[in-house]
Point group: C2
Chain length 217, copies 2
Amino acid sequence: MRTIVPFGVAEPKTRLESVLGPEERRTFALAMLRDILDAVTTAGGDPAILADAPIETEAVGVDVPVIVDDAPLTAAISGHVTEALTETGGVAVVMADLAIATPASIDRLFAASADVDLAIAPGIGGGTNALVVQDPTFTFDYHGASIRDHLAAAREAGLSVEEVDSFRLAVDVDEPIDFAEVLLHGQGRAATYLRELGFEIETQDGRVSVRRTTNGT
Amino acid sequence: MRTIVPFGVAEPKTRLESVLGPEERRTFALAMLRDILDAVTTAGGDPAILADAPIETEAVGVDVPVIVDDAPLTAAISGHVTEALTETGGVAVVMADLAIATPASIDRLFAASADVDLAIAPGIGGGTNALVVQDPTFTFDYHGASIRDHLAAAREAGLSVEEVDSFRLAVDVDEPIDFAEVLLHGQGRAATYLRELGFEIETQDGRVSVRRTTNGT
């Protein structure tokens, strides 16, 4: 299935700037991107990167089509999904920062889409982390509590919907506290990179946090 | 399946004290408890409350066995799971604050346990929100990053494990920010109560938070 993976090239992961330098943020964002591209491919998907600025395939480390579009996120996704839908029966959109997603969780997303117009996986905090749309009348809106808005848009358009109940698809990495999930559950390059940088789980008074023990390698 | 639901009667949900008064916290905790008992029952489970102090069945609002044990959480759970395992083939432990859990998500937990010694659902932040154990040699430890410790304990004991990948089982409600998930995805008494108290989703700069618009009813 054609799977669009939006990726911010210019200023990746600014909300991590308190714990990662600019080059580290870029490397970490690329590691997460590579992980999700691998998971999509292993699950039988056909990924394409939707980038807001040109990016070299060598930087990504895997040969995947890159669509460059500097429009705002919602407009860029909407345009390219609509375009792809004229060619194929269903198009997926999967965020690039789902650092603990596995092929099995992506496979559940694809499988859920078989009999419905919209399969959708919520993110923690109201986002929409992954979806498959079969119907070009669906209206995208990635701003704010997008899971609520996407479900309302589907309802208004009379589309059939299946929610994909997945922890691994619900976790996206925006802030340092999200590193806890990556360190506990991640199996790919992003988790390895954080460990290389010296991040580890810390438990105090029964609560879990993350600390950086070194300045990395 | 026998399903033990631990519930703190004495000081429920202290980390919500910045936004809820003592009586509100008690009512909210009971609403979540009632929701999870209903979900377990609908999924075919046979719930029992494991309480750290006596609690009236009338307060809970449903006729479910109550086991009172003021031992620390891990010891209390371990003792009563071991006891129940002598009578039956598998015992579940499901936390009382999984406010967006559904019968379908509990059913997935039960189904996952069919062929393994341990079925386990991680919580956000390293907790263990739900599990089913079939083997009395499993060692409980609910302190700190318990999902990591439980997986390690199962590995050391040579137990077969299936992780249950569920967003609805991963969300527990400890802090005010967790209300966002309840307001967005909750379908039961806990969600209704928060709405009655005047809590609603707020989106600012594309990020989601929660505000209380009134002092409730």
